[in-house]
Subunit: 391 residues, 3 copies
């Protein structure tokens, strides 16, 4: 696709709502903001595919703060930042040290981006990321730091905007534009995993995001596998406003029937995550092990929530687009029984990989839109200069 065409769809300088902003939750962003990020990612991908280097920074660092290793998002952040010319510095960082403002500012003296991933604690994780963003703003106001880094939520307990906007842009690419997603049935379904303790960020984030663009969203989960109460009401309200729909069913089969897009994904129930957060605050590690053990045992009841070839057959024309925020738990490949069979995984691998490949571009787009007062001009400048990434 011609990058210049997409550049023309970006908001003018006077209408850029993202300048100086952090990216904490997609539901704090306007539709126009979200489209700008998705378009920005599309432009950056188109440029790089043509061997044009979208280097925006001559020097500068980006600091990653992961509470635990996440290979996929870690590489995505590193790749996206490098694309713009930023060097990654990894900072080991555990939630718990209270002097967040000190830490955040020390990381920000020369940083243009802070990527934070912290998803273990209900409410606390999101609040932690928010406090980092607030501290950085405060330090800029006080003149302590010359420039404010853009703070990116790379995965919290409640949302994962990089993942979900990357998914949106990937779907838009596949179906010829965001506007073409309107009216399409998308199934978001719980799937079995022997691990079983994943956060709610991705399923909640997806529901909240795609209901804004007129899709017909069906959520399927076994009894008890609840999201945060907000997640349902937000999806309902969004669907109503956008002319789409949101419904909940109790079987994967029902959700998959005639769907054009399917997203199987494992998550832990909200009640479990609340309990674990409580036990963690009380330093009761042994009881956390027990709690996780019980969840895994309980999950075995739902071992049939696995995407098989038969299940895929029920989708529209038997060929729905399968999406997943890989790495996935795949039967016979990474575990004995997982979210999908090896057949389904292998048949859809190129798509799954292409979907995940959008993340670095979304990250780079967020940073550029936040750091540039006039990103439309900045993108034009990059495209016109057309510096080759290598010769």
């Amino acid at each position: 696709m011609d990058p210049n065409e997409i550049i023309n769809t970006l908001p003018e300088k006077s209408e850029n709502g993202l300048y100086g902003k952090s990216f904490l939750r997609s539901w704090d962003m306007t539709d126009s903001d979200i489209k700008a990020v998705a378009s920005g990612a599309g432009i950056l991908k188109a440029l790089r595919d043509e061997n044009i280097s979208p280097k925006y920074f001559e020097s500068g660092i980006a600091v990653s703060m992961f509470s635990k290793k996440d290979m996929g998002m870690g590489l995505a952040f590193a790749s996206g930042c490098d694309l713009l010319g930023l060097t990654i510095i990894d900072m080991d960082r555990k939630l718990g040290n209270n002097a967040i403002s000190e830490t955040a500012t020390m990381a920000s003296y020369m940083a243009d981006a802070l990527g934070v991933c912290e998803s273990d604690f209900v409410e606390k994780s999101a609040r932690y990321i928010k406090r980092i963003s607030d501290s950085v703003e405060e330090s800029q106001k006080n003149g302590v730091i010359a420039q404010k880094p853009c703070v990116l939520n790379l995965g919290s307990d409640e949302d994962s905007p990089v993942q979900t906007i990357a998914d949106l842009q990937y779907m838009a690419d596949r179906f010829g534009g965001i506007e073409n997603l309107k009216g399409k049935k998308i199934a978001v379904t719980w799937a079995y995993s022997p691990n079983g303790t994943r956060s709610l960020a991705v399923p909640q984030g997806i529901l909240s995001l795609v209901t804004r663009f007129g899709m017909n969203v069906v959520l399927a989960a076994p009894e008890g596998m609840e999201l945060m109460p907000d997640a349902y009401t937000r999806a309902e309200k969004n669907a109503e406003l956008s002319g789409g729909s949101f419904s909940r069913v109790s079987s994967m089969e029902e959700a998959f029937t005639d769907a054009e897009i399917v997203i199987p994904i494992n998550w832990a129930p909200y009640s479990f995550l609340e309990k674990r957060t409580e036990l963690s605050a009380a330093n009761l590690g042994t009881y956390i092990d027990l709690l996780e053990h019980e969840l895994r045992e309980n999950n075995k009841e739902f071992i049939d929530w696995e995407v098989t070839e038969e299940m895929m057959e029920k989708t529209k024309d038997g060929k729905a687009l399968l999406m997943h925020d890989i790495p996935a738990d795949v039967t016979d490949i990474s575990c004995i029984r997982g979210e999908m069979t090896a057949q389904v995984y292998n048949a859809n691998l190129p798509c799954l990989l292409a979907e995940a490949g959008m993340r670095p571009y979304v990250i780079a787009a967020m940073i550029l839109l936040s750091k540039s007062e006039d990103p439309k001009a900045a993108f034009k400048n990059i495209a016109e200069k057309g510096v080759k990434r290598y010769f």
Copy 2:
């Protein structure tokens, strides 16, 4: 401040005493060397604040060798090196492997800077950093490496020149020039911390450095909290030469009274550090635990050595500049009882953060002054080219 004005204060090519040098201890540097580093830091900060990229290297690496993680200094080294265009490579490195020259040279094949932080062992730590510097020099002499990296002491058992020169430049900024520090009272005082095992590098380094610039330096510490014997005699001699003064008192209150600058800081007594070094050499880890436990118990006697609002009131006009090589141990924020109260910390946070923000620039200045034969010309070149860091 206009960077060109500061550039004019730099020594001419023929008088640059830092070319090819390592930065091990401030007391091995002349006054002119120290001023050049402080000015260099000021220039780099002024340029970057104006969005000019002081990139000096087209490519090249900087290797960091920390015996244990130090978030603040680690980020400072990474940021400072990135500013000049160098990529950071982290090298896990423990004191003990004897083939130092091999290690140092392997790290140096393409490195323009080696940042070494090793503070656990009395005498041995400083000797270790010195040997790295010597080995690198030897390898260059033998033609094994084409260029010699600048070796920086990022914190040893006896000095921390990056921290102390950053502090000097920060004070100079605040009071309108290094020459204005003359005659000012500065209090360096021991402060309580539940940790209690910090090295002597910063207090010793500060005493040694500020006594050279005519300040009236008062050191306060509880009985038994001794520095290395050299530290006192060096401070005395420096004060005599510079027309300042150096005295020791036994209460924080006496030190704070009428001071214009106060530096509360925890350190472990020299006798403890000697003993720990001895036990460590004998691999007696369990006894080290016991020794540290005893120190912490003993320190509780001095729990009142805490900077409170009342204590700050005693300083000149009640508004001395509070300095600290953060992260600090703050009462009610990072511990139950620490070096200062939360009120004092919060009221002075912007300054503390701004002080720490000078470290990356000092590191970058040291590297540039060591690597460039004519740093004055190099700085002029950077300023004239005025390449924007981002557009």
Copy 3:
């Protein structure tokens, strides 16, 4: 040496057999491929020695995947990639997770090079690196990744082509060209180390490579210290074709006598490595400890396999070139008894360090030859532009 002279020896675009290739084993490469890599390394070194930056990439990342830390090769990969303009991202990676294609592709979205080091398991390690290379190729074919990173074997169970080609180029430098190696006697001998569990990659790789260039290769090892059976037959066949020779003797002394080059190196016998791989697959860690203990005990019988000054005296004119893929186990320096005495080590240190210093250039040459369709033109372009690395 004039870089342009070496550039002229590179193959023309139409004859570049390395474009798009991975570097897994030297014996999969033609003689012309190997010479191109060695020459490329020589060009890059000559350019950098003249302060010319051979930056080929404007942005881009290189991902390192080490199953365990290897300081020397890790720094070499980082330095070599930085030389070309690539930023290093370290990826913790253990053999065992089965979804290799997923991992390899996620690392490749924006990577121009993947450096893989995995040497613990007989056959499996090499297969693992091969599968990474295959997966990346597959993902490019499927359009999932826009560009294919060059996959480099930085050390497997069977070969270490970076190390061995670096050694070849170093010898060529010392003796005035690869063609001058013909007819020279080179001794590759087992040497005692208290560690004793090193892989066969380097000795096997050296034998396989130098026999291709007409050298008279003598291998010495104590009884039972067997390489993989293939290693001997490959060396024999190569020697026959190249007009050199390959023989096995049972004492270091015999091998050293009149040799012009000597390579002492410790390795573990093939039978031990096979057994350890088997125990590892069965998760029998305790038995691995026992097996390693037995090997170390057994090795003590061969404690006299140490390079001493007397041993060096036996070489041609008493001054053979001593080579080693440092770090080495040196008596009295890094252990009580090791591969060579401290006297021998110290006397030859500049050479050992210079040898190891060739690795970054070999890595950079491999990447450039694999990524550029016309590397001869690319090298010419770099030399003509002559961008200073620093001014």
